[in-house]
């Protein structure tokens, strides 16, 4: 991890794309402008952070803007990690896809789209990945209720088809 000073220097080099830095439990996070995430990740790759370890989706409900996407970058030579975070609103959940430069983000962006409804502009194949294709809603959002999923057993098929809203 870069130390707290290193993080500030790193953020300063990113210019006005960086909005905020957080140094928490020896882990460095840079929050950046959601429209410039590809540019920022490209700049960090130039500084040696050339491995995208993971992409997480987060719902910060009730804080605004609610949705967050976090990119975990890793510098394998210096064994140094830095998080890049973008925040978008539920009304306009759009972030540029980083798949052209980072092919590993493909499945992970699809997962975040599936679970949180963040739309990644320019993703080659943005479909649901874990939930069924005809599923409605984004289940990992904090305001999505737990339970109430109808369980479709063959013995209840008739009943379920007749009253689709009623859990069998």
């Amino acid at each position: 991890m870069p130390d707290a000073t290193g993080l500030e220097l790193l953020a300063a080099e990113l210019g006005d794309a960086a909005r905020e830095t957080v140094y928490f439990r020896e882990q460095a996070t840079i929050e950046v402008d959601p429209t410039r995430v590809r540019e920022v990740l490209g700049a960090l790759r130039g500084k040696g952070y050339s491995f995208l370890a993971s992409v997480h989706g987060v719902d910060y409900y009730p804080e605004e803007p609610r949705l967050g996407v976090i990119y975990e970058l890793l510098d394998m030579a210096r064994v140094d990690r830095v998080k890049v975070k973008v925040r978008v609103t539920v009304e306009e959940p759009e972030v540029d896809s980083v798949t052209p430069e980072w092919p590993t983000a493909d499945h992970q962006e699809r997962e975040i789209y599936d679970m949180f409804g963040v739309v990644f502009r320019g993703h080659p194949d943005l479909r649901r990945i874990l939930m069924p294709e005809d599923y409605e809603g984004h289940p990992q959002r904090r305001d999505f209720p737990v339970g109430g999923e109808p369980v479709i057993f063959t013995r209840d098929e008739r009943k379920w088809l007749e009253e689709p809203s009623e859990p069998a």
């Binding site: 996070t29 987060v58 394998m76 064994v79 998080k83 499945h107 069924p132």
Partner: protein
């Protein structure tokens, strides 16, 4: 056979039901330019229920003759919403849930989650607990590699090795049963340490196993390395270079097989791994044989680590003394009011965790397994996300098998070692 169309069906279901086999009844015609019909592309649905997919993985394979032209993995069949469930439970009650993700590497799931929570609450893990964790993690790594070796060899047509591998795995599960009472999903790791100290006789049993395991691994190597069929199906098939693998986010034995010695146990030691002397096996070309050889060699290294951990096992507590996160010992409940209060608070509400987000990576049998935990200050996590190596590594399969034969695809999926419980979560 056609069904009456149901108006309540969604577009997707309707499309799914509209697929019929009527095309099969029509005679095959030659192509327009007189080419052979075998040159046409054929889309083959492989799975989700197929013994060679190592779980409920579905692959849409586009074939030209016997050559794979395109492959699309379709996942989600065992998605059980574990990450959502975790948000509804107190921190320490999440452990058994996350353990069930990658069901062959349960200690690793618990380890990733516990170390993330330990970072958040800033709790020190006592040295004895760290060593006990290493012992169980490495035994679990051997068990996971044994299942991989057995099932992969089964895919390649070698049946007997599967029985041998399960025989040795059984011994490891017996050890787990001895230390925690469970054979799988043991919930042995707790936030701040491990559940209980190892029982008497455990060390002797582990040492017996450690003496046996390298001999047995020699036997596996002898069987498979002298099997012409296995060698022909593994050597030189579906290689992928380290550069492409890194771009795809692939870590673990797959990356090491391509010659990159990246291993978090060495690169960024956690849980006292810096105390142990072990080697990182690497391959040269990154073909299926290297993937096989690297994992087989890792079994010997894990044996070495467990041996050293047993030799150097420090004395001391097996779990942190911090009563705010760890349950007090049973005998204290009868004598100390404070212990009773702590016990009550922990069991009913659980401990509160300072707000923040952390990412805790460890080296699982399949690569970088990491847990991202966000806390909002309450006693339940606001977000638990597992970076499961199988989920990320699965993206490499299409790069590996494009242009090779369908039989090599079976071998490649086997050498990829995907665990669908971890992929779908």
């Amino acid at each position: 056979m056609s069904r009456p169309e149901n108006p309540t069906l969604s577009d997707y279901r309707r499309r799914e039901q509209s697929v019929t086999l009527s095309q099969l009844d029509e005679p095959l015609a030659a192509g327009e330019d007189g080419s052979e019909t075998s040159e046409e592309l054929l889309t083959l649905n492989f799975g989700p229920h197929h013994p060679a997919t190592h779980g409920v993985l579905r692959l849409l394979v586009t074939l030209q003759g016997e050559v794979v032209r395109d492959i699309k993995p379709i996942i989600g069949y065992v998605h059980t919403g574990i990450e959502k469930t975790a948000e509804d439970k107190a921190y320490w009650k999440v452990i058994p849930v996350v353990e069930r993700m990658d069901y062959l590497a349960y200690y690793f799931n618990a380890m990733a989650y516990c170390s993330a929570v330990e970072k958040l609450v800033e709790v020190e893990v006592p040295p004895r607990a760290q060593y006990l964790r290493v012992i169980h993690l490495e035994l679990n790594r051997i068990a996971s590699h044994l299942i991989w070796l057995g099932t992969s060899a089964l895919d390649l047509g070698a049946v007997s090795i599967f029985l041998y591998c399960l025989r040795e795995r059984e011994l490891i599960l017996d050890l787990f049963e001895m230390s925690s009472g469970q054979r799988m999903h043991t919930r042995y790791f707790q936030v701040g340490g491990v559940m209980e100290d190892i029982p008497r006789g455990f060390e002797r049993k582990v040492r017996e196993f450690l003496k046996l395991m390298p001999e047995r691994a020699d036997e596996y190597g002898a069987i498979l390395n002298s099997n012409e069929i296995v060698l022909q199906r593994l050597r030189g098939t579906c290689p992928l270079d380290a550069e492409t693998l890194l771009g795809l986010g692939v870590t673990g034995p797959l990356l090491r097989a391509a010659g990159n010695p990246w291993d978090l146990r060495k690169a960024d030691p956690y849980c006292s791994y810096e105390h142990f002397d072990f080697k990182i096996p690497v391959g040269t070309v990154g073909d299926n044989y290297d993937r096989f050889a690297v994992r087989l060699a890792e079994i010997y290294e894990s044996v070495k680590i467990v041996e050293q951990a047993l030799d150097g096992l420090p004395e001391g507590p097996h779990i942190t003394e911090d009563r705010k996160v760890a349950l007090p010992p049973r005998h204290e409940l009868a004598t100390s009011m404070e212990a009773l209060i702590h016990h009550f608070k922990l069991v009913t509400e659980g401990f509160r965790v300072p707000p923040g987000e952390v990412y805790a990576p460890i080296e699982s049998p399949r690569g970088e397994l990491a847990c991202y935990v966000r806390s909002d200050g309450s006693s339940k996590p606001a977000r638990v996300h597992m970076r499961d190596p199988s989920f990320v590594n699965l993206q490499a399969v299409s790069h590996m098998v494009k242009g090779s034969y369908i039989a090599d695809m079976i071998a490649t999926v086997a050498m990829l070692d995907p665990i669908l419980g971890g992929i779908d979560r």
